[in-house]
């Protein structure tokens, strides 16, 4: 197949009803022989730029449009969305809502059928095979996991045989394991069929591993286009746009005397590059056993011989936890990690009393959840939903925070709400409708709703899921702060960077129960364990493992310190 090019010349676009243009004189050329990443801060116009490629702008959003966008030989203003979409496929960030038919095969065949293509069935099957879902063709969309649904959306785009695929923030809605699988597919598709792949991405570590070119969007224009390894070296500009360069690049920059640079003078962008460049510590490795977080402290939660499952449509009752035991103590900062379906969320719901175990007992602060209403347990235990949207039932965040207190006629409600709002720096969003906030703001607000109840135990399901790095940092900070107000916090997460920075006890769940229950450091020292749990250590851990740093460094500051002192020797 020959190369197709998207050319954007002097593009200016203003959304209807807004005063300022989102894009101002943007110019860029993207061709189909690369995997191209588009980065930029929030609101910089990345998504708007990409929606100009398939004609959604200006045909669907009729704002003020100037300049020209050309895809191959077609000028977008002279075509329409459905025609352009045959050349430029778009996988939305919110891909779940892109799937409109009940059955997988029908959804993938939807676009070819709409265009009256007779070979729609072959196209759909081929597309499903490309993404590795040929066995799921007859299943219902809602039966699939998030990762599989994303692949169905991708297949739906591939079925039209496009020349470009745009994927909007694949890593935002998928857990890291699935995001990597998606990127593997995307790269394979690009290499095998010369279809241009364009991703909008915040996570520079994915960009370094999978992309060829990097387009930086800033202030409504395209600031620069570079090969990925060169682009990611423009560390200051990235940081200015709230984009964090890969951990190894940051470490390299923090090392003195250019110790961390590659022979060509650049900073490394992948762990592989960094291992060659960084000063190594050759001292003998000795994995020390570390205490597992169980102290002499008071026991708050006791899960005893619990078996629990749920009924499914096709496979009868599915058991998630089987003969499961766990004790949690005061002062713990517990992270529950493990692959999807190992029972992390189920365990949290059992602790709230919303579900009662099929067998066994769950005791929270002395109350057996079988005999206590969830409403009563909620007086001491707070559960923060994985999807913060489900926590907003009032018209302002402030009202939502006050909801629990009002339902219990607590004294001095306004004052207490005000305290929480201040404590978590939510003044700017407190009077807005929670459901209209960005996901990062929603997470912070949902944490506030929880903390307003003065809980002893806080349970959080994926608190850093789908967050950009800035919001992620804010949420992590909030978690550290909340620790001063509560006895114990339990987090179910895929985010090992959060685990490394925050937890003091990690419970790794596998398909048959607990795989490990240790400190983060000792878990990170066992790569085979992480692998079994579908987890990938943060770059800094991987790097210190490969460099032989012992004990492992869990944060960038730690490793810079170590390499500084030992690398000099």
């Amino acid at each position: 197949m020959s190369t197709t090019t998207i050319t954007v010349e002097d593009l200016t676009f203003r959304y209807p009803g807004s005063d300022d243009p989102v894009l101002r004189n943007a110019n860029v050329t993207i061709d189909s022989k690369n995997v191209t990443a588009i980065i930029g801060g929030n609101g910089s116009g990345k998504t708007t730029l990409c929606k100009a490629f398939n004609g959604l702008i200006p045909h669907f959003f009729n704002g003020a449009f100037e300049g020209t966008v050309t895809v191959g030989d077609t000028v977008t203003t002279e075509s329409d969305v459905s025609a352009l979409s045959r050349t430029v496929g778009y996988v939305f960030q919110d891909f779940e809502n892109q799937l409109v038919q009940p059955i997988v095969l029908d959804d993938v065949a939807f676009a070819p059928k709409n265009h009256g293509l007779e070979d729609y069935r072959t196209r759909a099957m081929e597309a499903l095979t490309t993404v590795g879902l040929e066995d799921a063709a007859d299943r219902f969309i809602w039966e699939l996991s998030g990762g599989q649904q994303h692949l169905v959306a991708l297949a739906g785009v591939l079925a039209m045989d496009p020349e470009f695929i745009i994927v909007d923030e694949p890593a935002a809605q998928l857990d890291p394991h699935n995001a990597r699988k998606t990127y593997d597919r995307l790269r394979e598709i690009q290499r095998n069929s010369d279809v241009g792949v364009i991703v909008i991405e915040h996570h520079t570590e994915f960009i370094a591993d999978y992309c060829d070119r990097l387009v930086m969007v800033a202030d409504g224009g395209v600031a620069w286009t570079e090969p990925v390894d060169v682009g990611l070296n423009r560390v200051d500009e990235l940081l200015d746009a709230d984009i964090h360069p890969p951990q190894v690049t940051q470490i390299a920059r923090d090392l003195p005397d250019g110790d961390g640079t590659l022979p060509n003078g650049r900073y490394p962008v992948t762990v592989g590059e960094a291992v060659g460049a960084f000063p190594t510590d050759t001292s003998e490795r000795s994995h020390r056993a570390t205490p597992d977080g169980r102290g002499s402290a008071e026991r708050l939660i006791n899960v005893c011989d619990v078996t629990h499952g749920y009924p499914t449509l096709r496979e009868g009752r599915k058991t998630v936890l089987d003969g499961f035991d766990l004790e949690l103590y005061a002062g713990n900062r517990v992270a529950l990690v493990g692959a999807n379906g190992t029972g992390k969320s189920t365990l949290l719901r059992l602790l709230t009393g919303l579900e009662s175990p099929d067998h066994g007992t769950v005791t929270v602060l002395g109350d057996d959840t079988n005999d206590t209403l969830p409403e009563e347990l909620a007086e001491e235990t707070v559960y923060i939903h994985q999807n913060p949207e489900e926590m907003f039932v009032e018209e302002t965040v402030r009202e939502d925070i006050a909801y629990y207190l009002r339902s219990r006629d607590a004294p001095e409600i306004d004052e207490r709400v005000e305290n929480v709002v201040e404590f978590l720096n939510l003044e700017t969003i407190a009077d807005r409708d929670g459901r209209l906030l960005s996901i990062g703001q929603q997470r912070r607000a949902s944490l506030a709703i929880g903390l307003a109840t003065d809980p002893t135990i806080v349970l959080l399901d994926e608190p850093t899921g789908s967050l950009d790095l800035e919001s992620r940092r804010e949420v992590t900070q909030m978690l550290s702060r909340s620790a001063s107000k509560t006895e114990t916090i339990v987090i179910a997460t895929h985010d090992l960077q959060l685990v490394a920075e925050w937890a003091d006890r990690v419970v790794v769940l596998g398909p048959d129960g607990i795989l490990a229950d240790e400190t983060p450091r000792s878990v990170f020292e066992r790569p085979e364990l992480l692998d079994r749990a579908h987890l990938r250590p943060p770059q800094v851990v991987e790097l210190s493992d490969r460099l032989g740093v012992d004990p492992l460094s869990l944060t960038t500051a730690e490793i810079v310190d170590r390499l500084r002192t030992e690398g000099v020797q």
Partner: protein, 279 residues
């Protein structure tokens, strides 16, 4: 208070799965094997037929037949129960009121006699209502969404409407889950009534209030979802397909009335004739 949340929670989950099975697991359902147009026309016919019968015997035969059909079409026991309970309680109420009025005005035979008389008088009507509800429930829940949409499209129902049916099937489980989450989220932040009263009626009233309150945020979230859906539909060429003849043909191409569809229709009509002549 000994709460039996465990049992209640299991039933909620079980009911959910049972409903889903009715709506989605149509593989073996009898009515799903026929051409959707035939099934639609068939159900239209059988919604009317019972009204031509006035004797309890033939109506009872039809009721049995329709229940058998519902069973073969894997209709949810909960839905059937709800439907039958609905018509029985409705009629029962009429019987009760009319009997009390009759007795009040000094009719002969006393209250018990009035109840018996009125029940017998209303029995055919009850059975007619039940037959048509069971038949339509069986037909609509047995057909897979794809078949249903196809059948309606070919019978001249506009495409946006048939699309909405398929889309409804796509979204229903998601919404069900979201609704359940919202109710739970409300429960964790509310205070149940301190004394739950006779048969815990206060507690159930409280749950009912929460279930109603949870609808508003759900409606809001649905509106939010549809923004992306509308954009995506545009990229998938939906509006292009509306006027496109080739696309319509692809959609309806494999619809075909087979001998077994005709047999099904004939057997049903034969059954009605037999019932009409012999009972």
């Amino acid at each position: 208070m000994g709460y039996l949340d465990a049992i209640r929670d299991i039933t909620i989950a079980d009911i959910k799965v049972d409903l889903m099975r009715t709506a989605y697991d149509n593989e073996d359902a009898l009515l799903n094997k026929f051409d959707p147009r035939v099934v639609l026309i068939w159900s239209a016919v059988f919604v009317i037929v019972p009204w031509f019968f006035y004797e309890p015997a033939p109506l009872f035969a039809m009721l049995v037949a329709s229940l058998l059909l519902a069973y073969l079409s894997q209709t949810s026991i909960y839905l059937l129960g709800l439907l039958i309970w609905g018509s029985l309680s409705n009629i029962g109420f009429i019987v009760l009121v009319s009997s009390v009025v009759y007795w009040w005005q000094g009719g002969s035979g006393g209250l018990r006699g009035a109840v018996v008389d009125n029940s017998v008088a209303l029995l055919p009507f009850t059975m007619k209502l039940t037959v048509i509800s069971v038949v339509s429930l069986a037909a609509f829940s047995a057909m897979s969404p794809k078949k249903l949409a196809k059948g309606m499209l070919s019978l001249g129902v506009p495409r946006p409407l048939t699309f909405a049916i398929a889309y409804g099937y796509r979204m229903m489980p998601v919404l069900l889950e979201e609704y359940h989450d919202l109710v739970n989220s409300l429960r964790l932040r509310n205070k149940p009534p301190e004394s739950s009263g006779l048969l815990r009626w206060r507690y159930y009233l409280y749950l009912l209030k929460l279930s109603i309150k949870a609808f508003y945020p759900m409606a809001f979230n649905v509106a939010k979802r549809s923004r992306v859906t509308v954009e995506a539909m545009e990229t998938k060429g939906f509006s292009h397909s509306l006027g496109d003849e080739a696309s319509r043909e692809l959609r309806l191409g494999d619809l075909e009335v087979m001998p077994r569809d005709v047999t099904f229709m004939l057997v049903s009509l034969l059954f009605v004739i037999v019932v009409a002549v012999f009972l």
